[in-house]
């Protein structure tokens, strides 16, 4: 990176309002050729809005963008792509049925009179895959047969074919293994040496330190700070990200663990790589750490009867509950909060009251008819109890914010009188205040003798609220310790390498 060079991109005093909320407030950002610039911040801090403005998907209300010294105001995503700005989103944008080559050349096929020039395209595709040092990916295989890591490489190759000058990567490693992440960092280095500017968005601060040359932190739509990577510490970055709220983030509620309440003995589900033995105690919050794809979700789903059990046993209290699906588990007092809130966890178009009572209609049914009045009354009660920001129990869940949606999902488990809570990424994608409220609700539950399995990819929250933490790595439970014996480094080491660092 050369600091004397003029910036590739300069975004000046960018502002954007969505209704009454100010998503971006006069944010400055710049990028030099051959540089990786990390864009950091909590969810809702404005990162994605800034990227959407750059990619032409959203128009700013104020501010100017300069691209290689010229004013740039993209009318839409296509114009932005043509100008050399490529965004690789979290959910990859590939057509699963098409081959690698077809995806890379999609929308810019070479042709004569409408007929494809396949041989020449093949050369181009091989060249692009070679540039990212992944020439071994066969161009004629359908993308759906590739691993997630390989798909990402295909997206990067597509950006190269488009002659991207600026590459935006949004959480590129969130579904990669440690090894694949390292390979990705290698590709990023090569792209940098070719003069491509990279905007890197990630929650994993350690990898940001490894990849980025500079960092800009956003908080609540404002620029909270920026600097050269070697000049800022992780502590400083975190402080910039959370502002003054870091102290009350993990409210402590005193609770005492009792006897084992639910036990998984050598349990192996259809989609689990290995059998897992784990016991959760009454009044305990047990954290499960691990990367995405490490088998945590599959374990929870098997425990809940959503995935078929292949071998082993599940014991709740004194009863074996191996057979049966979710219906039977709910009767036993087990509740699951899905990691996919919008896709699976909630019926988005239905009301708060309906979503709340979906798993336990019994109190509102008389002779097969639903008693709307009672249901609504329960809705009001839970809205107050969970501090859900809503106009009333009739409001569709789709119109709530992420944090409030999650509170509805959690309230459903409470409403069905669960005693064991299986929470899969309960704080993903929600604002800090809601997060803190959910942590408090968890502590409160534990103090009342309920038990919680808390799956999360975000280690600080596990360390902040759990009594014990188990780490999953490639489908296996590799280590279980009291929280006091863990720290972030040890968790990271266990989650990425399968063995905890020596202490």
């Amino acid at each position: 990176m050369d600091e004397s060079q003029p910036p590739l991109l300069r975004m000046e005093r960018i502002s954007k309002n969505f209704g009454a909320t100010r998503a971006l407030d006069e944010v400055d950002f710049d990028l030099r050729p051959g540089e990786a610039h990390a864009l950091l911040g909590e969810n809702g801090a404005g990162k994605s809005t800034l990227i959407k403005i750059l990619s032409g998907a959203v128009k700013p209300d104020g501010g100017t963008i300069w691209l290689e010294g010229r004013r740039f105001a993209p009318a839409g995503p296509l114009e932005s792509r043509l100008a050399g700005i490529s965004v690789i989103y979290q959910e990859l944008n590939l057509a699963p049925h098409l081959t690698v080559e077809e995806n890379i050349m999609l929308g810019r096929e070479w042709h004569g009179f409408g007929f494809l020039r396949r041989r020449r395209m093949r050369e181009k595709v091989r060249e692009a895959l070679g540039l990212v040092h992944h020439a071994e990916i066969p161009p004629d295989i359908p993308v759906r047969q590739l691993s997630v890591a390989a798909r990402q490489v295909v997206e990067i190759a597509r950006a190269l074919v488009e002659r991207a000058r600026i590459l935006v990567m949004d959480e590129p490693t969130s579904s990669l293994t440690g090894e694949d992440s390292q390979r990705l960092f290698g590709i990023i280095c090569r792209l940098k040496s070719q003069g491509v500017g990279i905007i890197y968005i990630s929650h994993f601060l350690e990898e940001v330190q490894q990849v980025a040359d500079r960092t800009t932190v956003l908080r609540d739509g404002r620029k909270a700070g920026s600097g050269r990577m070697e000049e800022v510490t992780l502590e400083h970055i975190i402080k910039m990200m959370v502002g003054g709220e870091v102290k009350e983030l993990f409210p402590q509620v005193v609770h005492q663990a009792g006897e084992d309440i639910i036990e998984s003995g050598e349990l192996k589900g259809k989609r689990m790589a290995a059998a897992v033995t784990l016991a959760l105690r009454r009044g305990e919050i047990l954290g499960i750490a691990g990367l995405v794809g490490s088998g945590r979700t599959e374990f929870l789903r098997t425990l809940f009867g959503l995935d078929t059990v292949e071998s082993g046993r599940v014991r709740v209290g004194r009863d074996e509950v191996l057979g049966g699906g979710p219906r039977q588990r709910i009767r036993k007092g087990i509740g699951l909060l899905s990691e996919d809130r919008q896709g699976e966890g909630l019926a988005l178009s239905r009301s708060i009251a309906d979503n709340l009572t979906l798993s336990f209609f019994a109190p509102y049914v008389r002779a097969g008819f639903l008693r709307n009045k009672q249901q609504r009354k329960a809705g009001w009660e839970w809205i107050a109890k969970m501090k859900i920001k809503a106009t009333g129990p009739g409001q569709p869940v789709s119109s709530l914010s992420g944090g409030n949606q999650q509170k509805v999902a959690l309230a459903r488990l409470l409403h069905q009188n669960a005693t064991v809570f299986l929470l899969d990424e309960p704080t993903r994608g929600i604002d800090i205040v809601s997060k803190s409220q959910i942590y408090e609700a968890m502590g409160d539950l534990a103090s009342r003798g309920k038990s919680i399995l808390f799956v999360s990819s975000y280690f600080p929250e596990l360390l902040g609220v759990c009594d014990r933490i188990a780490v999953f790595y490639r489908g296996r439970l590799v280590e279980l310790r009291p929280t006091a014996e863990w720290d972030e480094e040890a968790l990271l080491a266990a989650a990425t390498m399968g063995k905890p660092a020596a202490r």
Partner: protein
């Protein structure tokens, strides 16, 4: 990891390619082994009549293949065929030259398709609803035009298109059959080797991605439905040729045969998958079944049950294959 089953890939591709053929072969084999019909089933004359019987569904299936690969559906295909055939009869009956009747019939089909495509993209409604509406509209229009009865028309060269023993005799098969083969090859080429064809697959596989990559998804869809409409128009011409009259009540429910052919041939109603060759094989599997069952003297309801089962089995096998893939 990237190319886990590299070695067996070629074999699998071959199996995938041959899969539909095997189904067709099985159907033909079964009937040619049944003692009651084996002497008649594989006769040239019978094969010719199966081919001729297939033309109408096959032409519809060519267009439907494009629609289904793009993730859409066209329920109005059969109504469109009936309307087009009535237009041909109407124009010829009015004393115009037969070629004008054929041309206007084909254009009517294309127009209905264009309207379908335009409404789907402009109103952002699902193809199922728009074409369900068009199913009623086109059928109603045909009956209106025909005054709720058959339209008679003088016999012209148009009726030769579907003649089982064509003139000149060196043609061997009806001109309609040759047209079907020619168009099938042409459409397979369009689907596989043109930018348009690739965009059809891309839209069906992931429309958001296609738009992101700068593909004009709306325009492409309008073209797809327009093209499919033209094939329905052609199919309508063949229907008229076969019946020698314009019958507005003909081909009721035929859209389901057309869709079934595409699906048996590996088309996915979720889009992104399908091929012309597969659809044609689907057409012939159904045609041979109908023909064989009739020869055996089996009642109509047996045919219906068998074809129903075939649809379910074919798609189940296809899904198995797909799941193993991914």
């Amino acid at each position: 990891m990237k190319n886990a089953r590299g070695g067996s890939r070629r074999i699998r591709l071959l199996v995938n390619f041959l899969g539909p053929f095997l189904g067709l072969l099985l159907v033909v084999l079964i009937f040619s082994l049944l003692p009651q019909v084996q002497d008649r089933f594989l006769r040239l004359g019978n094969l010719k009549s199966v081919a001729t019987q297939s033309v109408i569904v096959a032409l519809g299936a060519l267009g439907m293949t494009f629609i289904i690969i793009s993730g859409g559906i066209d329920l109005s295909a059969a109504s469109n065929i009936a309307l087009s055939s009535c237009v041909v009869a109407f124009v010829i009956n009015a004393g115009s030259p037969p070629w004008l009747g054929v041309l206007l019939g084909v254009l009517t089909g294309g127009l209905i398709g264009l309207v379908n495509g335009t409404l789907i993209t402009a109103l952002r409604m699902v193809p199922f609803i728009i074409t369900l509406g068009m199913l009623g509209i086109a059928r109603g229009a045909a009956k209106w035009m025909a005054g709720n009865q058959k339209i008679d028309a003088p016999i012209t060269w148009v009726n030769q298109l579907m003649a089982r023993s064509p003139r000149p005799s060196w043609l061997l098969m009806a001109p309609g059959v040759w047209l079907m083969i020619l168009l099938a090859v042409a459409m397979a080429v369009v689907l596989r080797t043109t930018v348009f064809g690739r965009h059809v697959f891309a839209i069906g596989s992931n429309e958001a991605t296609a738009r992101l990559c700068g593909i004009r998804t709306k325009l492409t869809k309008v073209v797809i439905y327009g093209l499919a409409g033209i094939f329905c128009g052609l199919s309508g011409v063949m229907e008229f040729s076969r019946l020698t009259v314009g019958d507005p009540t003909v081909a009721v429910g035929l859209e389901l045969d057309i869709i079934a052919s595409v699906v048996i041939g590996g088309g996915s109603l979720n889009g992104g998958q399908g091929s012309i060759l597969g659809s044609m094989i689907g057409v012939f599997i159904m045609a041979f079944l109908r023909n064989g069952c009739t020869m055996m003297g089996w009642p109509n309801y047996i045919q219906e049950i068998i074809i129903g089962l075939i649809i379910i089995v074919a798609v189940a096998l296809d899904q198995l294959r797909y799941r193993r893939d991914s």
